[in-house]
Subunit: 341 residues, 2 copies
């Protein structure tokens, strides 16, 4: 009696039987009961290499995570892991620093681990065809796209938000409230990555609202880390260029920036509004609650795996998916002081 026999007996798919056996939530109670009953009657032992029967000799799917200190990735990694597992594949993960080369890492993994496909979580947005040559299996760029590259839509798959437009929306919101001196806290302004894309969205919003950009208001932290964001914000304040609001490219950086502002005697949002991008669950529990543009992290992870498996299993070619970000209002944004007086 194999898992396939159980599936046939119950008139359901093998993956449904697998989900029941592994106690996953997304199975109806009736189907669950029927499958468990069939398992009981058949003396089928799920422990004993059940899923090996449904997987080929190499069932490894790689996940390359670039950016060690990005808590935004935690939820995505969970969803990706679960999605890969439920499809009967094995996730092999490597985490690399934000200055390391994800393509090189993926290429080495592809050969060593005999990968069927790869999800890149975080990476550069300017790949060339030449740079991608070492990767010979299907892959999906999760949370970033190819904005700075010139690759045709058939050359790679991406699942991301529109980073420039998301930053544009956030900064436009500050402008609409009357802010004119708006600082930006980024990782880099020219790293061909989401930091640069969001920085460009910031500049575009300022331009569209008739605000002259001031280089003295742009703080480069050099990373997405807490410590760097804290330091860069203190240096920004110490620099002396006045500002009434900050646009920050990531929630975690914003949490550190709020702390830095308060340690400099500036209260948020009274003395400085703060708006960010990501939508970490934790950002709802800091003081003040962070106003932020939420990325649909769970959907991003699930869609990345879906597109990858469609390619691995020959159902479709490369695809690009742009998901919507959504404002989550918090208590960290207010009109500039004196604006309403």
């Amino acid at each position: 009696m194999t898992i396939k026999d159980i599936a046939r007996l119950c008139g359901v798919s093998v993956s449904t039987v697998s989900r029941v056996i592994n106690d996953r939530p997304d199975v109806s109670p009736a189907v669950r009961a029927a499958v468990l009953e069939a398992v009981r009657k058949s003396n089928y032992i799920p422990n004993n290499s059940a899923r090996v029967l449904v997987s080929s000799s190499s069932d490894a799917v790689g996940l390359v995570v670039r950016g060690l200190s990005n808590p935004f990735y935690s939820d995505i990694i969970k969803v990706i892991g679960r999605s890969i597992d439920e499809a009967g594949y094995t996730m092999v993960m490597q985490q690399i620093g934000s200055r390391e080369d994800e393509i090189q890492c993926g290429a080495v993994m592809e050969r060593e681990k005999k990968l069927r496909g790869i999800v890149f979580l975080g990476g550069r947005s300017d790949y060339t065809a030449e740079e991608l040559r070492p990767i010979t299996v299907p892959f999906v760029c999760c949370s970033y796209d190819n904005s700075f590259g010139s690759l045709g839509a058939d050359r790679l798959s991406t699942v991301s938000i529109d980073d420039g437009q998301t930053a544009y929306s956030a900064v436009s919101r500050l402008c609409a409230l009357g802010h004119r001196r708006i600082a930006a806290l980024v990782s880099e302004t020219d790293d061909r990555s989401i930091s640069e894309l969001r920085y460009r969205g910031y500049l575009r919003a300022l331009a569209d609202h008739g605000v002259e950009p001031d280089p003295a208001l742009v703080a480069c932290a050099g990373s997405f880390g807490l410590e760097d964001a804290y330091r860069a914000t203190r240096e920004l304040v110490a620099g002396g260029a006045g500002f009434s609001a900050m646009f920050i490219i990531a929630d975690a950086m914003a949490i550190a920036a709020v702390k830095a502002l308060e340690d400099c005697g500036r209260e948020v949002p009274r003395d400085c509004s703060v708006i960010a991008v990501d939508g970490l669950p934790l950002s709802q529990y800091i003081h003040p609650t962070l106003t932020t543009m939420c990325q649909p992290s769970e959907r991003m992870g699930a869609e990345s795996v879906r597109i990858l498996l469609d390619m691995i299993e020959g159902r479709s070619g490369n695809r690009r998916l742009v998901l919507e970000s959504e404002l989550r209002g918090g208590a960290s944004v207010a009109p500039p002081r004196g604006a309403a007086d």
Copy 2:
């Protein structure tokens, strides 16, 4: 020319060559230069399945992470992943909910993925020999021990802090400042896990300081999640039993509890002191900075892998390692109001 030849040529170990090829930091500049020179001269192509040569046919090491929403695990997972990788093995990770059975999950993985060994990150502290029978490869319990079990030290390996003693230290600190009405926010008081261990440490500290425990001051959140911690704290306040301090079993829960206290009009630490256990980096960037007992998370991950590999490679049997936790003073603890007046 294989990686072994390169190693012999340079007079270093195979794993050192592997670290250089993969651009890891922990190699001296001189050795790095020598290895790269040898690689260049030999026309050795590292990309092309270099590490496959040093690994056996099955090089998979499992990591079972129990507790999806515990940010404390993020740093440990990174260190475990890197340590497994540097030793030439492949990490296969599965994340399960805090109510799922890690042993069952590990047993299925062991068979399906042909694991050489397993690290369990989070789990129950009361395993019996019978329960562990499905696991036939070496394994290490990381971040928890067998306090509630009766297994001999030769039956399983653990790397953890002394959870009871750590909670005892935290609560004793509150008592020493004059607090007598000390609430506890836990996941469960009787789940045979670190939550119960820390709860017992809390009770022991109260007893040693002559404080009568009050069941009305014990809040069970049911999980380590932010939302549950927030809700449980609000319910505790609404319950009406007065308290001047809270002991909280995890940093993430404490962040949500501080928010709940403030939303109820209680300022931390003026109206209520808060002390926690974990030492998340982020806890230094909230307001007020959290006072917490730090677990040595990186060392915990590295030692778990070291002990596991010692067993896999036959260098030693089971071991138990208890690491020290350390107070990180923040701004969330003060004497009770009126105490110093």
